[in-house]
Amino acid sequence: MEKDLRGETFSVCPICLKCVPAERIRVGGAVFLRKRCESHGPVQSVIWRGHADFDAWIGGAEAAPNEKLHCTDCSGLCPDHLQKTCCVLLEVTKRCNLACRFCFADHARQEEPPFAQVQSWLRELADPGKTLVQLSGGEPTLRDDLPDIIAAAKEAGCRHVQLNTNGIRLSADRTYLRALSDAGLSFVFMQFDGTTDAIYESLRGKPLLGVKRQAIENCAAENLGVTLVPTLVPDVNMRNIGEILCFGISEAPAVRGVHFQPVSYFGRFPAMPADDMRVTLDELLFEIEQQTAGQIRAVNLLPSRCDHPLCGFHGDFMVARDGVLVPLSQRGKTGAGCCSGPTTAEQSRAFVARRWQRPPRSAGSAPCGDFGDMETFLRRIQSHGFTVTAMAFQDAGNLDVERLRRCSLHVFDNGRFVPFCAHYLSGWRA
């Protein structure tokens, strides 16, 4: 076992959530986060399995001078936080119409803030002309006044309004969906765990594939882009990754991409998970390439530079004729204006909005001709851009303060911007 001197950081005890020193330990190509609580003893979690070179992936993500600061007390962004807000998540309800095995939200409560309260929060969180706000929950579409909330977000100056949803109501209520669109909804992030009903029965308790298909069709009718969001769980849908991607590509341009979320153990999960219950980023990269028979190569998926490289990746593609993907991004070729250093929250926000929002219908249908022709390329990328992205949330087992301090996804909680994984952090029983 080899200790990595660059790997010293801080984490939390998964039992008492006290901040504790932690280090990244290498075993062959694999990397583990190991920590010890004076009261509850040592624990470790796998963070890299060795399918790719860890150091090459981390690249220039060096520790900052004041890296080892306590950043896990959920008291909002500290002065030493290293990234601005890319996206703001606002919970508009605690209610939900599913009871999923895995969820970061706490469904024990049924609270729902009144509209005036939500409107006030939106005015407070908005940076006019810039903000990308994610309306989340619970299940936000349980609110009948969601169109008013979207309109309030736009009125407050939010540039982009994203809806995080399971798609159930969008599949069944076209009038409601039309109202969301008319109010200014920009795009939809839809839970989509796989291409079989068995996967939904396992994770969500219901067969939902038909619902998902219908929701996509309805969103397409409203010209609303949909990004599919699978939660990846070992022994449930890890073998379905290629099928999910094929499905998404076949539904382009209505579907704008697939955003994978390896399972993290928040909220209701009772005990610290074993390492074989986790999905690491390098494992996901490997599976994507394997299960798409190389159509999507790992080299076309770039480590996050807006957040910490261990927090996610993104790949930029264009859908050509017959569902063939043309890769636009490649590691080592990132643009003359860029370097290997972090990107700003503004750059990241502009990128996702450019890809996830569909162009207006007035732009017309894009030709599928010779993409060497500059005009053909520009029209096609705007209409048929496709992203393959991932975000690996941290739980009490694998939380790394160095990653947390680079977080650009912030939950707005009563006037405070809180890094996502700090906001939803929950401990397990001893």
């Binding site: 070729k333 500059m374 520009l378």
Partner: protein, 64 residues
């Protein structure tokens, strides 16, 4: 009708003609018609093209 300017190559004194011209950026190749000197092959890229469509291609290809 917009004014049709005739541009002359300073070196060859020949009128520039639109010709299919190739660009390469970040490993991707594109072509479009650009005013080119039929003598020496020099091209003239107007500011509106550089700041418009070419800049848009760059933006689409550059990493976020």
């Amino acid at each position: 009708m917009p004014e049709q300017r005739v541009l002359i190559c300073q070196q060859c004194q020949k009128a520039l003609e639109p010709r299919k011209t190739d660009f390469t950026y970040l490993g991707h190749s594109f072509f479009t018609d650009i005013l080119t000197c039929p003598g020496c092959g020099q091209v003239f890229i107007p500011e509106e093209l550089a700041k418009g469509r070419i800049s848009e291609v760059e933006k689409q290809l550059e990493d976020k």
